[in-house]
């Protein structure tokens, strides 16, 4: 006597979990309420919607001394000075006679002759009214009209443009993104004055209604990647977006990988340069951090200043950086492995001094390394989270306690302190915080491996990390390209930084095949250059 299973039941089960009830209720209420010409009706409805929102102002007044109207705006999101001077004053005090068109096209008349606001649009549903008001527009409802004016006179307090704290340069522009999306877009547009710089907007966050803008240079970015990014962003369903990392975690290729597959930056020059390499920027409102996709590993270890300094210096620094990134990853584990398993690998005299220093210490080297590394990470975390002046005190105490007292007391050996310090400095050479985090975390499993298997374990661990890295893809682009898969001609901007006049082509995999030339050849400065015609 089994009940036959209905198709609907299965569908119901597979259906995604929907949002909270309030969202449904809200949108239902807004959809149901029809917009009428009756101002009192509309006002009553809006007052009910914004009940308890003390920052929403509903201001009734009389237009052209005859018609009743209300202005709705959010205090603090609107430029009230502009509203008073250019809108309310004009509407209320205007002596202009309406003439024959009275009653018929009053809204048309207002927008064409009275209000001198550039960004103006008409809307005709109460749902849009609520949306526009919350976005910072001022909405004008006129009695007897179903056309509603939305004035883009948003304003209010915003942080001004300042130098980004996370990406400091010695030479290079000092502008950084702010929390305001429009400002950020303008910073970008200033750097790429071409109609080919396209923007697409998304609204993500069912409650927060956050604006997300995807920017790319048409013709340089690959169409498939653009479509992929668009669809991945479009799929996101979340109640709010507080930071661009919310987006990042939804669009990663390998969500569990510790390595960053999306680059974030606060610098408009970095974004602009990357757009010209065919990448796609995702700007997010309310955060200065912009996302860049697709990325490769090598982009993560390059600093934007590499391109602003002379190429010899950049090349030298890149090599130093590579060496130290590797050191940051394996220095403590190699020390552990060598001192517990392969003592014959240490030069005799060095071994003698290590032995002298380790003699009084009570812990095995592995434990010592773990204690020190964890303490170091804790100190770093403490230093970051605390207020600045206190943070400095913490680091001084940490340096004294760990560096001197522990060694003096014979709890920790001096070579271990040196190794940890070198590792710490090495991890500071990584220009991107998220990659440095990956390296910092991966140190610990490597120390475990070193403690149990020696160099054999370290080698296995490093091989494992590399296997993972070459397997990663960011929006279809192999993470280790152009090294694996190897493309020798594109190595000009990986381990070294070639001179500007010799970097003729854009990166291979991220750019459109037809538009690859960045610098036409034959521009190397030489005495012959001027003579050629």
């Amino acid at each position: 006597m089994k009940k036959p299973i209905k198709v609907e039941d299965i569908v119901k089960k597979k259906k995604q979990k929907t949002y909270d009830k309030i969202l449904q209720e809200d949108s239902q209420a807004l959809d149901e309420h029809e917009l009428t010409g009756n101002l009192e009706d509309n006002e009553a409805f809006l007052r009910s919607v914004f009940k308890g929102c003390t920052d929403v102002v509903i201001r009734p007044f009389t237009v052209l001394k005859t018609v009743k109207a209300i202005a709705v705006y959010v205090e603090g999101l609107t430029d009230t000075k502009l509203l008073d001077e250019q809108v309310l004053k004009q509407l209320m005090l205007s002596e202009t006679f309406l003439g024959e068109n009275h009653q018929k096209n009053i809204v048309d008349f207002i927008q064409q002759q009275i209000i001198s606001v550039g960004k103006l649009k008409t809307i005709n549903s109460l749902k849009d009214v609520v949306k526009n008001v919350l976005e910072g527009s001022t909405v004008l409802l006129v009695d007897g009209e179903v056309t509603i004016l939305s004035l883009g006179i948003s304003g209010g307090e915003r942080r001004s443009i300042s130098e980004p704290v996370t990406e400091v340069v010695i030479r290079g522009p000092r502008e950084g993104f702010t929390e305001d999306l429009n400002t950020n877009i303008s910073l970008l547009r200033r750097r790429l004055r071409t109609p080919r710089l396209k923007m697409e907007s998304f609204m993500i966050g069912e409650i927060s209604q956050t604006k997300i803008t995807m920017a790319y240079v048409q013709g340089i970015a690959v169409d498939q990647v653009i479509n992929e990014v668009r669809s991945r962003i479009g799929r996101i369903k979340i109640d709010s977006v507080m930071e661009s990392s919310y987006i990042e975690e939804f669009i990663e290729d390998a969500p569990f990988s510790i390595f960053p597959q999306v680059q974030n930056t606060e610098r408009p020059d970095v974004v602009a340069a990357n757009l010209l390499e065919g990448k796609i920027a995702i700007l997010c409102d309310n955060t200065p951090f912009t996302l860049l996709v697709p990325v490769v590993f090598w982009g993560e270890i390059h600093s934007n200043e590499d391109y602003y300094e002379h190429f010899t210096m950049s090349t030298f620094l890149r090599i130093i950086r590579l060496i130290f990134i590797f050191m940051a990853l394996i220095a403590p584990s190699v020390y552990v492995a060598v001192t517990t398993f392969h003592q014959q690998m240490i030069p005799s005299k060095l071994l003698m001094s290590i032995i002298d220093n380790r003699e009084p210490t009570p812990f095995p080297v592995v434990i010592e390394a773990l204690i020190m590394e964890i303490t170091f990470e804790a100190l770093r975390e403490a230093g970051i989270r605390l207020p600045k002046p206190v943070g400095q005190a913490v680091s001084i105490v940490g340096a004294l306690v760990i560096g001197q007292a522990a060694v003096e007391a014979g709890l920790i050996s001096a070579p271990m302190v040196i190794v940890v310090a070198v590792t710490g400095i090495a991890s500071f050479t990584i220009p991107r915080y998220n990659l440095s985090f990956a390296v910092r975390v991966l140190r610990f499993p490597l120390i475990f491996l070193a403690g149990s298997f020696g160099l054999y374990g370290v080698t296995l661990g490093v091989i494992g990390i590399f296997i993972h890295l070459v397997n990663l893809r960011s929006f279809g682009i192999p993470y280790f390209s152009p090294v694996a898969p190897l493309n020798i001609r594109r190595l000009k901007d990986v381990f070294v930084r070639a001179p500007m006049w010799s970097m003729n082509l854009r990166p291979n995999l991220t750019t459109n095949d037809e538009n690859k030339v960045r610098v036409p050849t034959g521009q190397k400065p030489s005495p012959q250059q001027g003579k050629k015609k």
Partner: protein, 393 residues
Amino acid sequence: MRGICIRSLRIVLIEIITVMCLLLSGCWDRTEINDLALITASSYDTAPGGKLQYSVQILVPSGGSKGGQGGAAAPKKNFIVETAVGIDPGDAEKNVQNKFPRRLFRGHRRVIILGEELAKQGIDIMLDSIGRDPQNRLRTNVVVAKGQKGYDLLKTEYPIERIPTEAMREMAVLGVGIDANIHDMLIAASSKGMQPIALAIEKTKGEEGFKTTGLALFNDLKLAGYLDAEKTEGYLWIMGKQKNGIIATEVPRYDGVVRVNIKGQDARVIPKFKGKTPYILVEITGSGSIYGNSTKLDLSVPDNINIVQKAIIERIRKQVENTIASVQKEVGTDVFCFGMAFHQFKPCEWKKLEKQWDDIFPYLKVYISVDFKIKTSGMSGPPLYLKKDEIKK
């Protein structure tokens, strides 16, 4: 949905097993550095009853060197020496280990000292145990304690270096000019027409420390004799290893001494036959510059340089001839690899010579040609203290 569950369960299971493998296996050959007894040198001697006496010199950790504190405290010993007897090297070492709370670690042994008595009896058993054990370094220097037991030499302190064997090593390279080690010894012992050598070091009574006294020569892995410092130099000339050093010689008829720093040197050993008798031609070439001149010659004049050059060539020839003569007569072991030269360049004839080589070598005729060039005469021609009319142009 279920498929995903099973898959993730499987992944988690694999991860747990991997972590268990990591934490539960492993570590079995882990040794903390503080549990090691670092052998810096060891010695082999004969013991009564045909046994072997094995001694080790072990580094004593200073326990965190904190400068400036140990003013009044008695100076701590840097090393200790422990000894034991066994029927073979491994057995003896086991007996030494019994006296130690820490694991003996041979990975940093730099010097092996052979007592003279043992060296005379033969070192074959010891060589095998050294070559077989992976902890040993093949570049460990081999030293023969001249006229005494290796154990006595091992106990000797040397004032400058923390570890006396460090001094031995440096002395071998700087003083003798030959880095005689296990590797070369094994090669020489296993090759035809070659005999191994070792450094000879002795501790003289009344003097602090020890000193090098040239080379110890082996014949079929038994100590056959020594070369003193003078003859060791002759040996270096033949082997082409006198790359840097000093030769001083009197210049006949000019009443004074000229000192030359050697800048480069090479030698070729050419095997030849006169009828059926083999003989050897040694071609020695070298160059150097003058660093001292007590004659009245003006050495900026090429003719005078030629005079000095001749004197030096004569000096080298005599030294080399002496060396060869004394090795042939007193030791009778082919440390110069003359047999090797025949083996390499005259393989057919060598087959006939091979079996009687030990008899042929002491009577082998050796012709020597020396070509030494003086490249520069230093900053001045004649000695600076001479008056103008005293100088011989």
